[in-house]
Symmetry: C2
Subunit: 433 residues, 2 copies
Amino acid sequence: MTGSQTSHEPYAVVDLINAKRRGQRLTDGEVDWVIEAYTRDAVAEEQMSALAMAIAFQGLTPDELRRWTDAMIATGERLDFSGLSRPTADKHSTGGVGDKITLPLAPLVAACGVAVPQLSGRGLGHTGGTLDKLEAIPGWRAELSNAEMLAQLESVGAVICAAGTGLAPADQKLYALRDVTGTVEVIPLIASSIMSKKIAEGTGALVLDVKVGSGAFMKTLAEAQELAETMVRLGQGAGLSTVALLTDMSTPLGLSAGNALEVRESVEVLAGGGPPDVVELTLALAREMLGAAGRDDADPADKLADGSAMDIWQAMIRAQHGDPHADLPTAKETEVVTADTDGVLTSLDALAVGVAAWRLGAGRARKEDPVQAGAGVELHAKPGDHVRAGQPLLTLHTNTPERFARAKQALVRAYEIGPNAPERTGVVLDRVT
Amino acid sequence: MTGSQTSHEPYAVVDLINAKRRGQRLTDGEVDWVIEAYTRDAVAEEQMSALAMAIAFQGLTPDELRRWTDAMIATGERLDFSGLSRPTADKHSTGGVGDKITLPLAPLVAACGVAVPQLSGRGLGHTGGTLDKLEAIPGWRAELSNAEMLAQLESVGAVICAAGTGLAPADQKLYALRDVTGTVEVIPLIASSIMSKKIAEGTGALVLDVKVGSGAFMKTLAEAQELAETMVRLGQGAGLSTVALLTDMSTPLGLSAGNALEVRESVEVLAGGGPPDVVELTLALAREMLGAAGRDDADPADKLADGSAMDIWQAMIRAQHGDPHADLPTAKETEVVTADTDGVLTSLDALAVGVAAWRLGAGRARKEDPVQAGAGVELHAKPGDHVRAGQPLLTLHTNTPERFARAKQALVRAYEIGPNAPERTGVVLDRVT
């Protein structure tokens, strides 16, 4: 309808929603306006959710998506690391179970001469949050001012801290809306959400770890490839050296899912040990970050072996008031899940373990919920390992033993034991540039 | 996600939205709950708008739609006319330009021995509202209690009044939401909106006038057929004798669009005159209503000719405090649009005339806006008529002459004059039972 104009807005949002519902492309002016107007509450939540759902079905063209992302960036501040003495590189993971890679990765890449400004979030649902993990370390604080972050990047070379509210506030509002309106799993909206923050953050190079499998948002390789290609295109369009690895999330990464448990495992990796899959992925991502930042001369494996990555880890934790030598919290109660038969562990489902860890108290259902630092799931076997009936497969940790029952419910069909070993595959499934 | 249950609701609306987004059918329990919870504000507006948009793409199965409609009915009261001495029949039009048919139709059908409880609404946008038209009659009031309505149905046989807020309150809330979220033109949502109110109203028979063409929601015959079939199926499923006519809305009905202008034309029809298309459609709908109510013995044409429909009209207006003999309001200012060439009027666009009447003050852009009783557009020629250059085609009426310019803008390409007469078609295009 084209009736009497009753507001001073240049567009009527209903016209934009109807256009997208019918499969039309929004103009640059329409995209700029709808994001800006939504951020200042001139487009209502129910209107943006209808538009988001229309986008779920009709998509956004590459140009439209780039404009949408730019419009989200324009609602907030942009950081600038160009004054640093070193190049910068950042990594973003789409989220998985047991994904503690940021912890060893950031100091490792810094040890190779590339600064890592890692703005992170807290966990929601079955995937853990990097800040929740680091907050298991006594004294460590996540909140830094932009000036503190810059100073730490220059002095230590790596910083993992909370993303401030100044970056892409449109995305923060839209993400909260998508979470309650069934529009989380929409590739252009995921891509613009991630990339708006990473571009605004001002990193010089970006490596994306796009997870595939039961524990990830993207359940199939095809979906993950589409998301990776969409994000790489957005990053490169914004002049950011961007590459994506597609990595396996059918089973948890490493041998732990839970905050303090994962810090402990990360420190093992920095000490030159740790589970092979965590080491493999940490090194693969480090090499991509160094390559994207133009420093492929350095070998990160050396920096794990010679202790220099560990030195930066300790400096990084201390710079944020944490004690890298303090004892980590442990849960008060544990329960063991044992194998019911002899054979080879053929699968151990990432989503089931993630949900179990969440229910034990490692994660939160709502933003305002607290998490238990010591809670989580410890793995004693990984797919491909031989097991015997009665052997411990998992240890569940929590301070609140009434949670064991629901955690074990999540694990009922979490694993399979068969006669033959599954085909071995590496963690990295594909690479998108 | 299936996390810690934090509310006492039996379902999480996000799961329902995601299911519908993926094309799954909602269960009966889910449908019942989401409508009921939305009505009591336990499902947020942004969640319902996302669900409505998902339905726009994925549809509702016939069973799902019936359940959805029943759930909307269950949120409110149901009227009961079974105590009346006569059968009842109602008509619903999907809305068009110059559609004053309810005014002569209700007393005409009553004159044939079938009671007509016509719960109506006010206009929004380019289509007029029946109550706005009748409110042009000095003293007439739209609001009746249920008891007053029943008493008037028994004494007069016809009542046209405002639908109370007690019928299907879920639909009232959802309709207001759809209006601002680009989900008006969604067939299952239109069908359930109309049918929930008509079924709750308790009429024994229902005739649907589904408009097709530029001035209607349904622009094509195929869409109109789908809507008609969907509504007829819903009505019959609810035990309501239901039939639909598909009627032409490419050009306005009759020779006027505007409140008092249309009352005047309706009275001409009741007096045995009036434009042929209005008479044709009034009689066609009357015959369908009588047939659906089991009274196809009566001939409505007789009741126009012998003045008995006019008698009931006058009694109906008087019963609602109106003066059927009072002078109707006229607009203070008029302007004439003339033909620019000789020839045959080949088209006169319904939407353009509707928008012009709206802009002259006959309609409203927002619910709270007032309307001008005298404003509107008078037609001096209809498609098929020969015209000469300089001859008046339209007269525009308004109290606020500054509106003429924007009204004439809407009419710039509203008509075509050519050498040959267009093919004559009747008003009724199809019939769905």
